[in-house]
């Protein structure tokens, strides 16, 4: 897979490490209780199709990317810098 990095252009996916669902950007409010944190840490939508996910450019510029990818075809539909994405609400 080639990931089109917004600053560096197409980069080999091997340069990245994968974290998972971009919903991890939406950490619940500390006051929201253990049930909310349990959902946040452990439960996933795990869709077959479009998936928004976090990749870290470890062997590159060390930026976090928010990649939108089709889990059925591996096609990458959109890439942006995670730091430019507003958190809160639905990621």
């Amino acid at each position: 897979m080639l990931i089109p990095h917004p600053l560096l252009g197409p980069r080999d996916a091997q340069e990245f490490t994968y974290l998972g669902d971009a919903a991890l950007l939406n950490r619940p409010d500390p006051a929201s209780g253990t049930a909310a944190f349990c959902d946040y840490v452990y439960l996933r939508d795990n869709p077959a199709g479009t998936h928004r996910e976090l990749w870290y450019h470890e062997y590159g510029d060390r930026s976090w990317l928010l990649v939108t990818r089709d889990t059925l075809s591996h096609e990458i539909l959109d890439v942006r810098l995670a730091r430019e994405v507003k958190t809160g609400g639905t990621a």
């Binding site: 998972g20 253990t34 795990n46 996910e53």
Partner: protein, 416 residues
């Protein structure tokens, strides 16, 4: 039709005209007492044990494709019970014991071969960890032996013992572990379940659940609505997709795992050997092909095919462990979709919907679990209580903080 040596000889002498299909192809009935969704190893073993062990009747297995098309026919066929944690090891040893008797019970040759598994260690710390794991195995009634370097050399002289970075220091050997013919396992359970009256419905995809007042009433399928008293879901890599139709989110991500087979070679690998420094494991099939694999690709996927970086990684692991593998030519490679759970251990439990039960989260290790998973899921469906060896596999263990994390890496499926 019973299989026997006599039957084989008779058929050989009479032109093989007496063989029959192994199971019927019935039309769906309008209602079953128990419906199993997913005709992989786990679903078929569950149906078999429901009928044969727990005396249940009016059972159907609904499979969206054909039997053996899922992970049951895609895995690298390793069976073993060499786990560490108390939530896991008794279950996998129960499974190992069932493997030892299942061919007789099913009257089917699944080519179960207890040729042993050898996990190699490369550092003193790793040897200490193996000693601890071996002791945990012995406590659960399994077998385990710690081999020193010479012991490993006697078994597998061709390994690269003096790799400068990862010298081989010894290994943990489980002699009762081994391999089994993966799709043969599906066929064996399917035939035995069918003989006991289970309807196996292929090309029957479940597309929804009918749930009324918190109780499951039946399933919508590509072959029409079918009513059910209880529904057990065992769909492996499709767990997220199917349980979503019942409104559930799971502690599971789907990932792709690849496997590789070389051309047929003369016997060279004595059992299953795993590299302890990278992730590479290898065995040799009875046809002579080297069967090997490594890590999952590491990103969410439903594609049933992987990418080249893992191919390279597996090839590097193979070359580091046994350089002679570089002379073998690769014949086939493929991928399967794994139901990777958040702690690397499976889930066998009831759900918040009455009558709806879930079996999944087997990660890359559910083949060895097939007999016990079937037995324990049938136990749960028939009695409403978890089997004693599967009591730790509850869905709420994550909320309770009782995760079963063999690797200790936390809620990150691509690291398990």
């Amino acid at each position: 039709m019973r299989f026997s040596g006599f039957k084989v000889v008779k058929e050989a002498l009479t032109g093989h005209r007496g063989w029959k299909p192994l199971w019927r192809d019935p039309a769906p009935q309008t209602h079953y007492d128990i419906i199993i969704v997913g005709g992989g190893g786990h679903g078929l073993a569950t149906a078999y044990h429901l009928a044969a062990t727990f005396g249940q009747a009016r059972i159907a297995v609904l499979e969206k494709g054909w039997l053996g098309g899922g992970n049951i026919g895609r895995n690298t066929t390793i069976i073993r019970s060499n786990y560490l944690l108390p939530g896991n090891e008794p279950f996998y040893e129960f499974s190992m014991k069932l493997w030892e008797s299942m061919e007789q019970a099913l009257n089917f040759n699944a080519m179960v071969s207890q040729r042993g598994i050898l996990n190699l260690c490369h550092t003193d710390a790793q040897r200490d960890a193996f000693r601890r794991r071996g002791n945990a195995m012995l406590l659960a009634g399994a077998d385990a032996e710690l081999l020193d370097r010479d012991g490993v050399r006697a078994m597998a002289p061709f390994l690269n013992f003096d790799n400068a970075r990862f010298p081989i220091k010894g290994g943990l050997l489980q002699r009762r572990a081994g391999t089994a013919r993966h799709d043969g396992v599906a066929w064996g359970y399917a035939r035995a379940a069918d003989q006991r009256g289970v309807d196996i419905l292929q090309n029957c995809e479940v597309t929804g659940f009918r749930i009324e007042n918190g109780t499951v009433k039946g399933v919508e399928t590509s072959r029409g609505y079918i009513g059910a008293g209880k529904v057990g879901v065992a769909v492996a890599g499709s767990s997220g997709r199917v349980m979503q139709m019942a409104g559930m989110r799971l502690p599971i991500e789907s990932h792709v795992l690849q496997a590789f087979v070389s051309e047929g070679l003369k016997p060279v690998i004595p059992g299953v050997i795993t590299f302890g420094a990278g992730h590479f494991y290898v065995s040799q099939s009875d046809k002579g092909g080297l069967v090997f694999g490594g890590d999952i690709d590491g990103y969410n996927s439903y594609a049933q095919r992987g990418n080249l970086p893992v191919v390279e990684d597996v090839a590097e692991g193979g070359m580091a462990l046994m350089p002679m593998i570089g002379r073998a030519r690769l014949l086939r490679m493929w991928g399967g979709v794994m139901d990777m759970s958040m702690d690397g251990s499976p889930i066998l439990d009831r759900t918040d919907v009455d009558g709806l039960f879930f079996n999944g989260g087997w990660c890359y290790g559910g083949f060895k679990a097939t007999p016990a998973s079937g037995y324990c899921f049938a136990h749960l469906l028939a009695t409403g209580r978890p089997h004693e060896t599967a009591a730790a596999y509850r869905l709420d263990r994550f909320a309770r903080g009782h995760v079963i994390d063999e690797k200790g890496v936390g809620a990150q499926p691509n690291l398990h």
